[in-house]
Structures are given as C-alpha cells and as structure tokens.
Amino acid sequence: MKKLLFLLPVLCIILFSCDKDENQNPVLAPDTYSFERNGLTTISFSGQTTRIGMGTELILAMKNVNNSKDLLLEMFRNQKEDGTDANPFTEEDLNASLKSIKSKVAASADLFTTNTVESALIKTDIETWIMAQVDEVFSSANQLAGIGVAGQIADGTIARYVSAKGIEYDQLVNKALVGALMLDQMVNNYLSLAILDANEQIVDNDNSVLEEGKNYTTMEHKWDEAYGYLFGKSASVAEPLLTLGNDDVFFNKYLARVESDGDFSGIAQQIYDAFKLGRAAIVAKNYNVRNEQVAILQEKLSEVVAARAVYYLQQGKNNIPIDGGLNYGTAFHDLSEGLGFVYSLMFTRRPNSPNTYFTKAEVDGFIATLVEGNGFWDVTPETLDSISEMIAAKFDFTVAQAAE
C-alpha cells in the first residue's frame, strides 16, 4: 500500500503532464474525512443536517392519520400558506431555521437554473402527494382498502394506509425526496462545476481565501455541502460509514441497503473514498483529481437510486399474491417505495456529461404506466419486469443483481 502511495504523485504527473495549464499538485487522501486549518476543522454542512431533519419529521408526520394538510404543507415549506414563518416541527432548531425542504427540491444549478418550469412541476408533484395523503388516504383511514377504494390494508401484521390505486403517499414522498432533494443537490448542484468553480472560487481556493468569518474556502464548503446530504446526520463526520444506514431515512439509509446486497458491496466505501479524495484534492488545489472524484460520485450515487428502484419493483412483483388472494399490502408497500425511487431517476446524473440518465418525460412515462387503471391493484409482473429492465440497461448492473 505504501508503495502505491509513493507512486501516486508519479501517476499524477504522468496522467496530467501533457496538460500544461492544469495544476499538478499531488493529492494524498487522509485516512478519514477530516480537514483542518490552523488546528480547527474546515468542514461545515449545517444546512444539510437541517433539511434532513425537516424531511425526517415530515415523513413521520405523514404516517399519523390525525395530522392536517396545513401542518404537512407547513413542514414541507417551513412557511404558512400566506408565506409567513411557520413553526411546524417538534425540534426547536428546525423551527428557528428559515430554510425549507421545498426550496431545495429540484433546485440544482445544472438541471433547473434555466428550467424553473420543470422545477415548479416537481415541487407541485410532491405537494400534490402530500395533500392527497390527507384528502384521499387520511379521510379514508377507517375503512378497508379495495380495488379503487382508499383505506387500510394489512401488510403482514400491520396496517398500511393506501390510496384508491394502492399508493402509500408517505413512502412515495420519502423516496422521491431521496432523488429530488438529496441526489439532485449532490450530483447536480454541489458537485457540479457550475457551483464548485463559480465566480472567483478557483482563484480564491488557489490563494486560500476564506469566506468571511469562516475557516473554509467557498469551494471546500460546497464540497462539504454535498457530503452533508449523505452524512449530515451521521454520528461521526470523519467516519460516517461506522453508522451507515442508521442516520437518516433518506440517502444514508438506502446506501446502506444497497451496500448490504452482495452484488454492490464496496459501493459505500467507494463513495466515501471519492468524497475524501476529492476534498483532499481541493485542499491540494488539484482540480483534475477533484473532477475525477466528481465523476465517480455522480455515477455511484446515481447507481444507488437506480438499484433501489429496481429492487422495490422486483420485490413488489414477488409479493403480488400468486393465487388471486387479496393480500396485496406487502406488494403495495414495496411498489410505493419503488414508485418514489423511480421518480428519483430523473435526477440521476451521467458522469462526464451534462445529461441525466433519464429525462422527466421518461420517468413520467414509467409512473403513468405503473399507476394507470386501478394502479397497483392490476399492475402486471410483465410491466414491473419491463421497467426494471429499462432501468438496469442504463447502469452497470442487472435486474437480478439489484433484485435481492
């Protein structure tokens, strides 16, 4: 290993020697995600921690049938309907904050700066589902669900609350936010060159110009904000993989789930290592190495969402009652999660490209197919397989690999 480390600078020189303009400083990643200047940490991502906290409370509140539409919308917007400050959260720090989930949904620099139309549509999608949770599902909470009828359905021994099409909107919103908030902000915003290199940030970073009153350069901070959408609630900033999966119900949790599938084992470490090396590259002012890590992160973080989408569609398929029984609850739960991850596909980002793996139109097509007619009550295994195949075809895994 040590030998390899010695080779690294040589490697960098070889790799970049023909590109005279580029910085050739060698980059050595530290053992952990731990960066200091003058003995103090330079890492900060409190805004991400706040938004994950707000999302956590929103999803929890969407499971309580007594909650009102106003409360849920206030949690999403952190504002009242008239635009004034709201205090919908149980955690006081969240109420004190003026940030919101909504302001960062479908709000990345790369995808939405000149596409506020689509951004607004996506925000509306999520608000529509939040409202439907109250209007369709909570209002039918005390009746049994059936084909075309919202209500309760048993998933094993517990009650799930579904729409007339079998959709659990809390699951849909939860998993849609993994894409529309966390993934989009990471791969299309904070890891985007439009953000990392904006204004005079390269020059400032080269000259170690710190933000006023802060211990970090703007570029360092942007990188950390991407990191914060994955590890913002982790017990250890430096070594977040120690508690991976237990720290939130969004990206952190589902990275752990994908990691636990043997076909993907190592992906969490790859993502962590890329974050670490990229951050070290910023400190070393080596933007080639940084950009290589961006590409790795865009690919791997996107792969997590895609693998999870396929996983839940396949689990849903496997849980559809085989003998015409009515025990659809487990399948509906899986398919609701799958629907949210499918929605999230529109934010997956091809590495070294301005494009996403799927357009919103393609994703909307999948969603329309999944919920057409009586929705999950009559979705066929063939449909679930076909969408699974279309997803997997764009990534470096098969449906079978993601399915278990």
Binding site: A141, N142, Q143, L144, Q152, I153, A154, G156, T157, I158, A159, R160, G245, V249, K253, R257, S260, Q315, N318, N319, I322, D323, G325, L326, N327, G329, T330
Partner: protein, 369 residues
Amino acid sequence: MTMINYFRFLLFCSFGVLLSACNDNSNNSSIDTFDRELMLTHWADNIIIPRYETYVSSLEDLESKTEEFITNASVDNFDVLRSSWLSSYTAWQAVSMFEIGKAEENGLRNYTNIYPTDTNKINQNIAEHDYNLTLPSNFDAQGFPALDYLLYGLSEDKSEAAYLLTQSDRNLYLSLLVTRLKLLAEAVVDDWKSGYREEFIANKGSSATASVDKIVNDFLYYYERFLRAGKVGIPAGVFSGSSLSHTVEAPFCGVYSKDFLLASLTAVQDFFNGKSHLSNGTGESLNAYLDYLNTKIEGADLAVLINSQFDSARNKINSLNQNLKKQVETDNVKMLEAYDELQKVVILFKVDMMQALNIKVDFIDADGD
C-alpha cells in the same frame, strides 16, 4: 440488522455446503415418487381438521363461560373464565401455523394473536362504541392478547379485576371479542369440511401454488416469524439490540408465556413428524418425506438432525422462567440461548429441508420499514 445480516451470511454459507451435498444426492436418487396425496390426506384428516375442531370447541366453551360470567360476575366464574381462556389460547398454538385456505383469506392470525396488544386502543374502543374490528389498525386491539389484558390487566387483585371487567361496558367488548374469535375459527373449520379438504388434497402437485409447497411455506413462515421471532427473539431484543420484555406473549397474566411457547414448539414438531392429533399414531410427514429422499447432511439424516435440534431448543426453553417477561428482565442471556437453538432449526428447515424437497421459499425478509 447486523444480526440479520449475520444469519443471512450463515444461510448463504450453508447453502453453498448444501449445493455440493445435493449434487451427490441426485446421482443416486431417482425421480421423486413420494405419495404427496397420502401425506396431504393425513395432514388434513388427522392433524389440521382435528386440531381446528379442538380449537373451535375450546372457543365454544370460552363463549359460554363468558356468558356465565357476564350473568354472574363472581370470582368463581371469573376463575373459570380465565381457565377457559387458557385452554383456547393453548389450542390456538396448534393451529396458528396453518394459515391456508379460509384462514389465509380471512387473515385469521392477524385477528387472533397480534401482540403486544394496544391497551389505549382497547380502552378507546370500549369508550367510543364506534370501531371496526375488521380494520388492520385494530389487529392489536382484539384476539387473545386483548383478552389477556381484560382478564389479567385491569387489576392485580382478582376480585377487583372481576369487578372492573363488568364496568364501563368492558364486558360487552369482552363478549364481542370472544364471539368474534369463535366465528373466525368456525368459518375456517367449516370451509375445510365443505370442500376445501378435497381441494387441498387434490392440489397434490409440485409448484408454487401446490398444497405441499404452500403449507410447508406457511409452516416455515410461522416457525420463523411467530414462534422463533415473536415468542422469543423480539422480547429478547435480537432484532432491536435491546430487550423488549413487554413484547412477550400474554404479558398480563405472565405465567403462561413459556407454556404457550412450548405448546407451539410441540405442535410444530408433531406436524413435522406427522403425529396425529387425537392419537399417538403417525402418518406420512415431512420427516417421512426426507427419509424417503434419504436426505443426509454430512452423513447424518436430516430428519434426525431436525428432531434433535427441536429437542435442544426445548431443553433450553424448559430451563426458562415460566414468565418469559421475568426471564428477559432478570437473565436475558438464557432467552438468547433459547433463540439460538430455535434459529438452528430455521437453518435446517429453510436451507436443507426446502432444498431437499425442492420447494421454493415464497416469502422474503422484509426490509423493516
């Protein structure tokens, strides 16, 4: 989570071992001509239906004892009622695994024995008179666990408990729950006797929807989720990391939790061995099927291994406190030890037996959210 992953890993390893073992096997065994129809007939006529009949008659007794108590709430009648509850709850342990046919269609287990029971919900239902017991959200406000609360949870003093049960319409709820249990059980046994038995036996093939495949999966699912996890693993904190003593079965009366576990284990083992319900005779069974296939694991008969592992688990359980809640609270290590022995049966079942019988496991581990 780590624990579950660990077991997955174990399963995975055993699977690898088995694959090679099985290949050896397939060379010297011919086509499977085991008489599945005979086995299904024995199961239906000598095990499943008789067990259900015992269960239904125990509920008829519970219903009449409930009526007697409501008419005359004496402490004597209360004692008789409690003891009838104990008999029917014990009889339930022998049928819970057969969640097939009408039982599956009606979700019998969900309406009969979901615990821990939600005492707030029960009190709310009693107070409001406006509730729908068919809703999944009321699974944990009915059945034997709710009766456990009504019969044992209102007061530690017996005469006061009997008195409180007559107050505030609690007796109406009691009566409603008991009658509901009886009607649900009767529907199942009636279905078996009016055509489902024949359908069950005729469906003797080997496919995901065939009777043998389905009931063996039900049996395995029951063992894994409701016996191993529900009665032992969850209270011992295997899945949560810290013990949860209030999640034992029948915590309000307390002292029968171990007996219910043992009754369940015996019912499972007897089914495996094809022991008739009303006699000591045995018939075609999973045990016999494995013998027929000459299934061996490293030279030992799989059926023998399974029975001896059942016995190891029973020995561990016998050493536990009658009250599993107390056991968890005083010495949870013993609970964990019992769990470990029960878990070893899961591995023999789920990997070795299913592979030998060429039955695909039709349920998957939920991912927990």
